[in-house]
Amino acid sequence: MSFLYPLLLAGISAIALPILAHMIRHRTRKRVAFSSLMFVPTTLPRFTSRSRVEHWLLLILRCLVICLVAAAFARPFFAAPVEEPPRTAGRRIVLLLDTSASMRRSGLWEQAVAEARKALKETGPADRVCVMRFDRDVATVVGFEAWAGGMHGQDARAAMEAIEALRPGWGATDLGRALVAACEAIGADDVGGVWTMDEKRGLDARDTQGRDALATGRQDALGRGGQVVLISDLQQGSDLASLAGYEWPAEVSLAVRAVRCEDGTNASVQWISGAQGPDAAGDEPVAVRVSNAADSTAEQFVLRWVEGDRIGDANDAVDVYVAPGYSTVVHVGKDDGRWTTDDGREMNDERSPLRPSSLVPRPSDPTVGPMPLTHGGRVVLSGDAHEFDNTLYVAPRGRGRLSLLYVGDDDPNDPAGMLFYLRRAFAGGPAVRPVVAWRRADEALGMTLEQADMVIAAGAMTTENATAVRRYLESGGTALWVACGGQTPGERGTTDERRETSFTAEDAETISVSEQGPRTTALGLGGSDTQYAIRNTNDESATLGRLAGVENLRLREAAVDGYAMLGRLDFRHPLLAAFGEPRFGDFSRIHFWRYRKVDVDKLPGARVLAWFDGGDAAWMEIAVGRGVLFVWMCGWGRADSDLALSSKFVPLLYCCLEHGGTSVAMQRQYFVGDRVSLTDGRWTRDEGPRTDTGRMPVLRVRRPDGVEVALGAGRTTFAGTDLPGIYVVEYSPEPGLDDRRWTTNDGRQLRPSSIVSHPSDTTAGEMSEDTGGMFVPRGVFAVNVAAAESRTAVMAIEELETMGVRFGADRPEPTAKMKERQQRASLAATEQRQKLWRWLLAAAMGVLLAETILAGRLTGRPQNLQEAYHD
């Protein structure tokens, strides 16, 4: 057993105290009230030493407590010896090369290549080598199988050529993932089935027994051990999370060949996660974080705004002071646009012209161009030794437009109608700008329908409109149809009126919409001639039947005694998943005064999402072609229910919208290596023209280096963000180039209108200079170096040990001071894992308890004078 703080074991010497106390008779705690002390001679209190200890057990317990506590403070642990894998004739060696952005620092890559060359030279003839590079992702440069195919010298040269062809990228460092991948590569390497040409010639193809024996011999000769040679700068920003749940193989050791940068001064400017980008008007604050590495020697830096190729003049520079190891947030004020620190003080009154509005090209500036949203800007930091993380690319924020089409006879200003609440539900926000178009049930829908992200229809429609909506659904659209009971909500008046004209169960059975005709006639309620005609020609049953593709469908008015509630909801469905938590899932406050019933079995593909407490279906989802049709058997007009007044109403509508494939979320800032979901956000929607035929235009992504990536079909994510900078999404207005279906990653079908602005692909996206058409910029997004990559201070190698990584004999030899510190950290980590001190303290507590009980029994205190006298 070893101790982390052995000096604290000196505390064991404190056991002299209880021993001394046991040897000295000093009982001063007894007090006796005596009549008079006039005859009592003055005697000094005597500390009479005793040659014999009366209570051995008590003394032992007390000494034991002190020993245990002292041992606990000394932090004991069992030192685990590092087991070196047995050295065999050959080894599997994975050369793991760091190509993250931090390796772009001056001189690091050259050192890394030299180290790789040195490592390759040290490999033996029987070794098998694999070269892998990693940043955020891991890639194999030279695999084991390629190494085994040729002579050793040739393999080394080929591997070296491959390494020299590598260059550090811009990605973050996921060291844990890389180490896991290297170990797995070692474990997956099988030498049994790999043969050299000489061996192949020596073995008969039919001699399987000899082949197996040779393979076994090769495996035994090579052994199962391996070595990972890590060539990296070991920056603190390396992600080791993948190692947390990984059990490092016992037969694999890690050799670290760290490369060091002479000048550690590195500052970075970073995007604050979750912050909004500058809007087009430039009147909202923008916040960036300036961080300084812990080992920096400089503290004063300069921020400068750059638009395109135009660099701000000297007056645009802003001085920023950041102590090493700290960071500060710099805001651009909304009113005056001045740069301020996070504590609110202005950084430079005279030199703070950097305004958010500068993110938007000024029309008078010819260098910027006429399309403001296709251009971003960047904030450039200077004053440190390394420039790889000194530029922050900023994409302007745009508000996506959301087109909704409401089909119904509501009056928009009628507070009892559904449209009144619908327009307020989609009032818009900072990220999205919904537009609700309104068409009467007998009006032609036309282009409005094609451009709509979602159609909401209330009650009966004309045959033409129902057919158009059906086509819209089949093409991937989303529609919500609400059964109004053959009566448009606006006609039913207020709730009081509804109560006055409530019907009985017999009425409900007899006024089947399909049989009795317009409901208004049955109830004796008035309506315009046009509405009357609509209801005569196309009642709700027929409308729903046409939308769902079912004939002879019957809707009936349900008999409601007072009010109905939702009795059961399917929270597993994506539409209601957002309400799955108990605090959000209370729908019991929503009362439904009346609703309609339908035979769900007659609706093919219908899935009931909610049921009324009477067991009737309330909300349904029907797959129509590639689209989704939601059917609600009760509206949200005041005559039908108080759903519109519920807090569930707005999120429910947005859930319908998103479930149909129209996302209202928006993101414009990404890190290198992020997969950009082009279906997320409608950041090009507002500028996107549509062809008359509704066919899809072609889109492509123009990278910061000018390379244009033609997006593949059927993909919705763009993963080619391997460069920091502003990425421009362009589209070709030529119709007919792409009419293919688009699916999301989870296989969900998207309608073409959703893809217009978010083309995709990436994984298989081939790059080309031009697709042949004329492309027009549609939007931009910014990609930056990950913030963690700027933490360039050297990581303690013990952090890897704490994650369970085993080091080999060629572990890098630290300096004397570092060695002591590392050894101490290693011991501390081992002790932290074992935590034996807790057991010692628990034992001390137990002994203390026993000592207290024993002492209480042995030394009873006199209760009164009589006991003192008769003691």
Binding site: V32, A33, S35, S36, L37, P41, Q866, A868, Y869, D871
Partner: protein
């Protein structure tokens, strides 16, 4: 204490024929305790072979000229044809003052009852005894000064008042006999019997002076010194912090080491006290609180008898010289 005279009672005590003070003190009523003691005492007296002693004393003297012929015992003259004068002790004029120490040191107890309780019971016993004989009994409690004073009376209900006063717990502070005895000497204009019951844990020099006040007044003084057995033998075992209940002084005492010196000092004090009493003609009795009350009453009676004999002899000598 005369060892020869107390032999019989001491023997009774060892034979458990006397009432155990601890058992007696369990009786809550002090009056009842005094009654039990006195009545038991009388029964013991009647069974004893000693007869004829009493506080009242009779003497025959040959008639001389000038004697009051009313005191001639004519019956004796008829039998012997000689004139004798029958003399009576003036019993009805006995005025007894019980001086009971109520200082805080009297509250010390190493047993179930304190010195104060013992002294109170003893005083109540004497009061009951004298009261039943028709003597006037008074009471004065004191510490540094006189607390309660009841002049000697012999009237119905007075005994109860005395006992109620004795039942009060000691409230005083230190024992200082000087001021109260000096004051009593001023109050007691008529001669009488003064019984001082105290632990006398005070300076002997001052005590000699203070007792001299009473003796100078012609009073018969009897001193009962009441001490706890723990005060007599200092039988403490464990080292403790001793606190003087009167002065509040604290002292760390190792009993094993201090016991010998304590006993030596206490013995010297008691001897000095005894010598002072003897010099002043005071009957002195030391009582440990575990001593039966019967013996205390017996001692009291014995002293009174001896005193009467001494006085009679003295008078006889004076009368003989006169004739």
């Amino acid at each position: 204490m005369d060892e020869g005279r107390s032999t019989k009672y001491e023997r009774r005590n060892t034979n458990n024929e006397m009432i155990d003070p601890a058992a007696l003190m369990r009786i809550k009523s002090m009056e009842l305790r005094a009654k039990v003691i006195v009545e038991g005492f009388w029964k013991g007296i009647h069974r004893s072979p000693y007869h004829g002693f009493s506080v009242e004393f009779t003497e025959y003297r040959q008639y001389a000229c000038g004697d009051d012929p009313r005191y001639i015992d004519w019956r004796l003259y008829a039998r012997s044809d000689r004139l004798y004068i029958k003399k009576f002790q003036d019993e009805t004029n006995l005025r007894c003052h019980l001086l009971v120490d109520h200082s805080r040191s009297m509250g010390f107890a190493s047993g179930p009852y304190s010195k104060s309780q013992y002294a109170g019971t003893l005083a109540a016993t004497l009061a009951y005894f004298l009261y039943t004989q028709g003597d006037a009994v008074g009471l004065a409690t004191f510490d540094q000064r006189i607390g309660r004073y009841l002049p000697p009376r012999n009237r119905p209900g007075y005994l109860r008042r005395i006992i109620q006063t004795l039942e009060a717990s000691p409230e005083g502070r230190a024992t200082d006999l000087g001021p109260p005895l000096e004051r009593l000497a001023q109050l007691l204009t008529k001669r009488g019997l003064v019984v001082l019951i105290s632990d006398l844990l005070t300076s002997v020099e001052r005590l000699e002076r203070d007792l001299g006040y009473l003796c100078a007044g012609g009073h018969d003084v009897v001193v009962f010194q009441v001490l706890d057995p723990a005060e007599l033998n200092f039988g403490f075992e464990s080292p403790s912090l001793f606190e003087d209940v009167e002065s509040g002084r604290r002292m760390m005492v190792e009993p094993a080491a201090a016991r010998q010196g304590y006993k030596k000092r206490l013995g010297r004090h008691l001897e000095t006290l005894k010598e002072v009493c003897r010099k002043l003609g005071i009957d002195y009795h030391l009582f440990a609180t575990d001593r039966p009350f019967d013996l205390a009453l017996m001692d009291f009676m014995q002293d009174r008898m001896n005193r009467t004999k001494r006085m009679s002899r003295r008078r006889s000598r004076v009368g003989g010289r006169a004739t």
